[in-house]
Symmetry: C2
Subunit: 394 residues, 2 copies
Amino acid sequence: MAVSSKIEDFIERSSWIRRMFEEGARLKAEHGAENVYDLSLGNPNLEPPLEFKQLLADLAVDQRPGLHGYMPNAGLPEARAAVAAGLSTEQEMEVPPENVVMTVGAGGGLNVVFKAILDPGDEVIVPRPYFVEYDFYVDNHGGSLKTVAAGPDFALDPEAIRAAIGPRTRAVLINSPNNPTGRVYDEQSLLQLGRVLEEAWVSTGRVIYLVADEPYRKIVYDGVSVPPVMPLYANTIVVSSHSKDLSLAGERIGYVGVSPQSSDVSRLMAGLILANRILGFVNAPAIAQRAAARLQGITVDLSPYARNRRALYQGLTDMGYEVPMPDGAFYLFPKAPGGDDLAFVKRLQEELVLAVPGRGFGEPGYFRLSYAVPYETVEGALPIFARARTESTG
Amino acid sequence: MAVSSKIEDFIERSSWIRRMFEEGARLKAEHGAENVYDLSLGNPNLEPPLEFKQLLADLAVDQRPGLHGYMPNAGLPEARAAVAAGLSTEQEMEVPPENVVMTVGAGGGLNVVFKAILDPGDEVIVPRPYFVEYDFYVDNHGGSLKTVAAGPDFALDPEAIRAAIGPRTRAVLINSPNNPTGRVYDEQSLLQLGRVLEEAWVSTGRVIYLVADEPYRKIVYDGVSVPPVMPLYANTIVVSSHSKDLSLAGERIGYVGVSPQSSDVSRLMAGLILANRILGFVNAPAIAQRAAARLQGITVDLSPYARNRRALYQGLTDMGYEVPMPDGAFYLFPKAPGGDDLAFVKRLQEELVLAVPGRGFGEPGYFRLSYAVPYETVEGALPIFARARTESTG
């Protein structure tokens, strides 16, 4: 066999998702990409802020030596300092630069965290629906993902998490604003989650981490704000990236920030920095770290996302789709008319609309739409959603 | 415990190396960095070629959309094509772009390879001395490293490798030009290794990969050339980076290239691309990929390394040190006078010379010197090497 048994299995299991993507690619090739309404990709379509281009221009003439060479595995001091300052504001708690590791995106950051904390057989609890890569990120390091149902409208359900905690629980992983639902967890439920974790920690004597994956923190609408998580529970690790807020997904820049109140912080930081090195990341890319350092207070203009969100939510709701208004990110997660997400997504494909079935997020019966697209894509897709719903429920 | 048992163990085991580094940092703080002769770092001290700065200037004014956004996990088409063309020349075999995955450095690339091919308990054979990170890269994915002795003057010893091959052997890992010895394996011994692997493959029916880690391929002296490896054996995977030849170590750009003759190539490529995604790399950083695409034929000016190599080799040999002349990379790996590498490295530290003990590479009794340093560092260190040798053998 050319690959390991596990990878062979992963390739097979993911084949139906791959087939859907291949079908999308085939449709674009056949009908022209401009005639396909692709709402399937979680790919920011806005350009990075102008300040990023200015940074490149500055680096092009910067003669200081070593700008693109090796550096400490944890990252450039100025990047760690800038991120720590940003985190301190967002988390309403003083996070020192030593508690920050610059990473290859949030995906790299989550792998670094799980490599550092998981013993074989450890469990990570996550509410459904969830970003499907979490399965791999936990499995890579010998752990297993344990999913729990969300509350109504995909709210956080701390009691469901309490019921799932067992002797092998090592972490609870949350993602707010959420991919795929767009939900932002409210302060009340987060406070309650903090109490649940505190009680479990005290009763078992075993550190359980709250891992908050927050790449969409700055992508929120209608004045919603994302509550800080560090004040709620001591053993909190925040993972984020600038893929969305600076539209730099291809440059792979993210970070891990640890609460100053976490148990044995210096040992945890040593573990995270070692994991960043030995997984082969070594350090986050240098130019992208300089962007993180200089652009920390900046966010892309969200008005195109906001306009799409309103149009798509309003349009679908008017047609009778059941979907909660998303607070953040750039996704909607409606119920699939007729109940079969795979069948419904295939029906959409017939008229060149691409979406992702909910089972791709561990939640069959729903489908995900990304509105990180040109407004014309939303406009063009809406009549097709109307027809597809009438047919599927008719 | 704040971290997993394994990470706890890694932190403890690496603590004496860390103490040496910390001692170096302490010496620099106490005496001023300019008064310390630091020959311990495998960090290119040359600047990237001017073409890299030109690329940044061009990107600063490039208005095409999506330049810094998501892309296929395998990399930008133009980067894969340029690397494939470069590999085809170096390997004297047509390598198509589809056989290339752009990675986060060679460290990322090796993790991607081992994630894709190793089942739990699989073994990877490597000649000693070896780059110490290989231990982690193999262990990360459930494999174990099996080391074999090198031949005289650190030459490749295919018969030692043959003797080490067993039912769990999945790969043989070679590194030429070698870190830490500077040895380039000659064509004859590589041909013999190819035959050994071919025979083992035929007799067991199990694919054994030859993984060639080649980040120093272009860093060679005195007209030495590094023989191609793909023509010697079908199941060959080349891993490399532009950390050294373009001095872009901090930008994390490398690649994996698979021989077109490898078994079930399309399945192997699918596994490598999946591994690149699920380990959280997702894709190699976009700007650095554009550098790989544009600068494929370019190498930093090696004359500073060549001058240092000659001065350090000549100086040490004249004093009586036993050290083979390195063919490539920027390291010397002399025998430690007195035989105790740790004691000798500590003796050097007393006069502010930093080196790495051979046990850091699985070969006690030697020490590694990096000559990727200013010429003045070599000049200043030589008299100290003379005194330290006299004392240690006296």
